[in-house]
């Protein structure tokens, strides 16, 4: 099973994603903003980062810029989990190394688990607008 870093400022959602992913047998570490995620990266090398974009203190885009994932953490996949579909921020996230993007409010728990598994195994960076609810 994989090592996953969940970066989400909404405490209810962060808790829910962690429950779902642990239920699937993944090892999960939580962070509530980009800055905290950067700190966690020092001691935790994740296979996948589930990343929100709009967060206080440090947002997802800034985190991607600061962490330089494609260079420093080559094996780590990034799954953007946001409510900002079709936005310039999502396009920017792809340019900064994100692999996929899914829309939070469209995604049911069993689909979150499936999309995480797909992203972990995917070779390309194909995105999908909304996992079926």
């Amino acid at each position: 099973m994989a090592r996953i870093l969940v970066v989400e400022d909404d405490h209810d959602l962060n808790k829910a994603y962690s429950i779902i992913l642990r239920h699937e047998g993944h090892e999960v570490v939580e962070a509530f903003d980009g800055k905290e995620a950067l700190k966690k990266l020092k001691n935790f090398e994740p296979d996948l980062i589930l990343l929100d974009l709009l967060m206080p203190i440090m947002g997802g885009l800034e985190f991607l810029q600061e962490s330089q994932l494609p260079k420093k953490h080559k094996g780590t996949k990034v799954l953007i989990f946001t409510n900002m579909e079709n936005s310039p921020e999502v396009a920017a996230a792809y340019k900064l190394g994100a692999h996929r993007c899914i829309i939070k409010s469209w995604t049911a728990p069993h689909n979150l688990a499936r999309v995480v598994a797909d992203t972990l195994h995917a070779k390309d960076s194909a995105g999908s607008l909304k996992a079926p609810a």
């Binding site: 909404d10 209810d12 959602l13 829910a16 994603y17 429950i19 779902i20 239920h23 709009l54 409510n83 900002m84 579909e85 079709n86 936005s87 310039p88 921020e89 999502v90 396009a91 920017a92 792809y94 340019k95 900064l96 993007c101 939070k104 409010s105 469209w106 049911a108 728990p109 069993h110 960076s125 194909a126 995105g127 999908s128 607008l129 909304k130 079926p132 609810a133």
Partner: protein
């Protein structure tokens, strides 16, 4: 002799009236001769453009006052409203930037009318209005809707996630009545989500910030996903939903898969929504040399002839539909049209009331990224 004197007096009075009107206009106004040289300019125009009267009178207007499009591309002489008014002999209305004397851009709404006497153009009168405030209000409105939509979605995400977790048994087993109730909550949350999605996309479309991120995409795979997601909706009305693709090996194109999916989902769900029970909805994909064509056919109620030219307008809903289906917003096709435009495609339809409708969308094999996205990164 007396008649001539009277005519002269009337003429002088009319000239004074025109002069007073021209001077007191709050909007910029100027007139030119048939070559586009400025013959008269009012104080508002001088103030807005930053030139004084002596600098403007006699100057060739298109050269003296430069114009830019809202994408900041210089407007060619042939595309200037005044030229168009001369060439067509008709009034022209357009919006663009005028460059002030100090180099500042001034967004203006322009109305030009040619002056024609005995079929000969004698010149033109142009009136222009500063629309800085309108643009600012528009931007603030878009920002507000966008922010409000995001804020609405955060609690909605939590409602959906935890409802699904309950439904999926993360917190223990449920009986059928409890599952049915949770299904009702999920359905309502989905409807709310659809509405927020549409509002967000329309806001982006209208403010020109819709992001196009091209990827090598399989159109047939996207269409299969859409069919899979909408099968439940179709079977609920015993509607036959089918998909065919030519060539059968699949259709590859470089486009934004998320936007294509949004377009297809809207067209197919509309087809199902506006087709009576036991009808048919089909999707046909064809790859051609120049582009890819998507046809979404439904055997539904159709669009009345008198409504057909308004079908892509915002908030428009056809009369024959409003009576049968009360839940629509009239935003779906307006959004689809904007998304197709963003991908460099075209959309049109054929429809007959009582028989059905076919929507056709063409998409280029390769779409360009949207310019605004490049600026962000």
């Amino acid at each position: 002799m007396a008649t001539t004197k009277k005519s002269d007096a009337i003429l002088r009075q009319q000239q004074s009236e025109v002069e007073a009107m021209f001077t007191s206009l709050g909007e910029g106004a100027l007139s030119t001769d048939e070559f586009g040289r400025i013959t008269r300019v009012n104080p508002a125009a001088q103030y807005m453009l930053g030139f004084n009267e002596s600098e403007l009178i006699g100057a060739w207007f298109p050269k003296k006052v430069r114009a830019l499009t809202f994408d900041e591309v210089p407007v060619n002489l042939i595309d200037r409203p005044i030229t168009k008014a001369f060439l067509t002999g008709k009034p022209i209305t357009e919006k663009m930037y005028y460059l002030r004397k100090d180099g500042q851009k001034l967004p203006v709404s322009i109305n030009v009318s040619p002056i024609i006497l005995d079929n000969k153009p004698l010149g033109a009168v142009e009136v222009f209005r500063d629309i800085t405030l309108e643009q600012e209000v528009d931007r603030m409105k878009s920002e507000f809707i966008s922010l409000a939509s995001h804020q609405l979605r955060t609690p909605l995400s939590a409602i959906k996630t935890y409802t699904h977790m309950l439904f999926d048994g993360y917190m223990g087993d449920l009986n059928d009545a409890q599952k049915n109730s949770l299904n009702t909550i999920i359905g309502a949350a989905n409807r709310m989500n659809e509405l927020i999605s549409t509002l967000l996309n329309i806001t982006r479309m209208e403010s020109g910030t819709i992001a196009v991120t091209p990827k090598v995409t399989r159109l047939d795979t996207i269409a299969e996903e859409v069919v899979k997601e909408l099968t439940l909706m179709a079977t609920g009305k015993s509607i036959k939903l089918s998909l065919s693709s030519r060539p059968k090996t699949g259709i590859k194109l470089t486009t934004d898969p998320l936007i294509v999916k949004e377009i297809l989902t809207n067209l197919v769900s509309n087809g199902i929504k506006y087709t009576p029970e036991k009808g048919e909805v089909s999707i046909k994909l064809r790859s051609r040399q120049d582009n890819v064509v998507v046809e979404v056919y439904d055997s539904g109620w159709g669009i009345p002839k008198y409504s057909q030219d308004q079908i892509f307008s915002k908030f428009f809903r056809a009369h024959n539909i409003v009576k049968r289906e009360t839940t629509g917003t009239g935003l779906g096709l307006y959004l689809v049209k904007g998304l197709v435009d963003a991908l460099g495609g075209r959309i049109w339809f054929t429809s007959e009331e009582g028989k059905g409708t076919s929507f056709f969308v063409t998409l280029p094999h390769k779409v360009k990224s949207s310019a605004r996205v490049k600026k962000l990164v």
